[in-house]
Amino acid sequence: MRRFRIQTPLGRAVGLGSAKSGFGHWWTERITAAALVLPAIWFAASLIAHSGSDYDTFRRWLREPINTALMVLLLVTLFWHAALGLQVVIEDYVHSVAKIWALIVMRFACFALAAVGIIAALRIALGA
């Protein structure tokens, strides 16, 4: 139901005013997108080349410094970009108090997944 509230149309449109921000999010989403292009293509190409590999071949591949570096770079950029993109999706469709919680949980999940992925990659690369 529509709330009954006496307010001028301009007052309603102005709302809480401009946040005077938004550029940072928009710009970082673009920068991480551009930064993802190369690691993503490298990753896709690696999958094509190594999808049938056994455990030792895969370990040897990931232990090469260039591949370790690219994998860590991919994980950082991927989850950074995902967090920014999913934020927009949540803000677009969730209009209740659940929005704030969804945003917090989503960001936490992205951080946690990036951390687990990076640690796993480094363990394979640097471990015995």
Binding site: M1, R2, R30, A33, A34, V37, A40, I41, A44, L47, I48, A49, S51, G52, S53, D54, Y55, F58, R59, L62, M71, L75, L78, F79, A82, G85, L86, V89, L113, V116, G117, I119, A120, A121, R123, I124, G127
Partner: protein
């Protein structure tokens, strides 16, 4: 105060229920859906790395799941989602630099994104079969 005398709230005219799907809106929602799907596949990537880090047993178990029929179908979807989001994302970056905004360019680049993504999906699966078949 005409609002006070109105018997009922004014109805909202339909939006998505009637608005014609166009290449503009369809590719936009496709970019969003593939982005969300790729976020889910990113979780699979992390599980894969964690499995590989924990030892050969977990790694081969995961390889079996990925190699199964449902796993392969999900992987095919992921491949197409990946290329659609990649090509669509590049299209968006071009727009963000205030280029290719003529309708003709919007439609041509849209169809190019669809065709290129489909072609890249097919090519990468053929390459994969070729390489996997030789190893």
């Amino acid at each position: 105060m005409e609002r006070m005398t109105t018997k009922r709230a004014r109805p909202l005219s339909p939006n998505i229920q009637i608005y014609r799907p166009q290449l503009t809106s369809v590719l936009s929602i496709a970019n969003r859906i593939t982005g969300v799907a790729l976020s889910v596949f990113a979780v699979v990537l992390v599980i894969w790395l964690a499995a590989a880090a924990s030892g050969p047993a977990a790694y081969s178990q995961l390889q079996t799941i990925i190699g199964s029929w449902p796993g392969q179908i999900l992987f095919l979807i992921a491949t197409f989602a990946f290329f659609l989001h990649l090509c669509g994302g590049i299209r968006h970056l071009v727009w963000d630099s205030v280029r290719a905004f003529e309708l003709k360019q919007i439609y041509a680049s849209g169809w190019a994104v669809v065709l290129l993504s489909a072609a890249l999906t097919v090519i990468s699966w053929l390459l994969n079969l070729l390489i996997a078949g030789h190893s």
